[in-house]
Assembly symmetry: C2
Homo-oligomer: 281 residues x 2
Amino acid sequence: MAASTLAVVGVGLIGGSIGLAARRCGAAARVLGVDRDPAALESALALGAIDEACDELTAAAAADLVVVCAPVDLIADLVVRVACACRAGTIVTDVGSTKAGIVAAVRGRLPPGLVFVGGHPLAGSEKHGPEHARDGLFAGRLVVLTPTPWTPEAASGRVRDFWQALGARVRFMEAGEHDRALALTSHLPHLLASALAGTLPPDLYEVTATGFRDTTRLASGHPAVWTPILRANHAALLDALALLEAQLDRFRQALACDDLASLNALLQLGKTVRDRLAGRG
Amino acid sequence: MAASTLAVVGVGLIGGSIGLAARRCGAAARVLGVDRDPAALESALALGAIDEACDELTAAAAADLVVVCAPVDLIADLVVRVACACRAGTIVTDVGSTKAGIVAAVRGRLPPGLVFVGGHPLAGSEKHGPEHARDGLFAGRLVVLTPTPWTPEAASGRVRDFWQALGARVRFMEAGEHDRALALTSHLPHLLASALAGTLPPDLYEVTATGFRDTTRLASGHPAVWTPILRANHAALLDALALLEAQLDRFRQALACDDLASLNALLQLGKTVRDRLAGRG
């Protein structure tokens, strides 16, 4: 690993943090950065997130490992294009928040000897841009990898080792299972935060406190990033939304019928789950 | 103000923080603490949140200003009981998260010369107990006071001055207007956080990250505190929930119809509102 050349395609918050972390821990001997935005490349260079700014073809030809960091609707085509410029044996992975569509779209389109391993680090921020990158972003965080039954074990093991070197925990999941899980744990919270923020009239801005602000923090995420994510996972997201609506209905019933025992039980269930999460890494 | 004796009835997170802040800034010369839980009183004394632990009658007789800090379903009766033991001229206020029911329940039940001014500091935490109290809890925070047309201006001015001395901003609102506002900015976020946490099956706990945790933080609040709040404000809360459901419907439509322009516009609205809140105190 230590002798490898890493190419990061897309040097925003995630890509920049990967570069910083890989350089700090020696998970890559050299980090090449690719981005269509020259300002992002300059910023990534200045921050020490990459050793060199390259064009896509040069980076692909030099890399042992390529990590594609882009909005989910652009990832599959980028993976295929980059892979076609790579040497045989190079492994390509990504950081997209949805996986089934990307894995399916890449399949059968890679040149011989090239392997793609879908990946998703559960880390990030409502911020974006390399200026918010930090080398500890993945420490203790979960990275889900979604190899298929046809993915060589050596390749998924290599990507696992890379993330573990960056301090992350790694879990393998089937891509569809990943998407169903994230619909509930990430995409639904985003939708809810956005819907809740969207109901607030301007005259009530002053009457908000930390509760409203924490609950809606995710709404600050960039629509250019989140529209493709919610779209790509719309089926699982609609299922998750239906689950939530059923729970909201139980609250509505309890409130409308002045059923304090049920109201208390619903609040207690939420507290029990949330308190268990607080004790986790 | 500096010569006054303050009685804090209920020395939990909020009451303890009021005592700490009032002692630090000199808003009260002496702070008396009342609580039915001897451990809370001991803890408040040890932390310097109160000068003395008293029984209710002693504290009421000595106080110029009484702040009742209790679950909302207990506040009105406590206010009346305490007021009956106060000297004429004493002002009683509270910190309950709902106001219309309390103001109505107190009205006409106070002895002559006693004034109640409803209050609600928009500050707090999902934690509870005096051990989480801090003297800066109200710095820069909004406190809503809900005097009625019959409240003497001198009394509401005195309570306003007290909170301002603790570093808070003060706004006067009609009690029903307060409740409708807070239904949307506080009680609905709490309900949503709880409902979202309640939909999470245990096998997905590991697949949560900061997004899920921030969105559900409020769910850790104590049901004994929140059941009475949601109940007391159930009519306004059901209206707020209907507003949110309408926004969720718009998301559902956009997802089901693959209407990217609408999906993007909904996310952009949420971002615009949330980003404006981030710039506020």
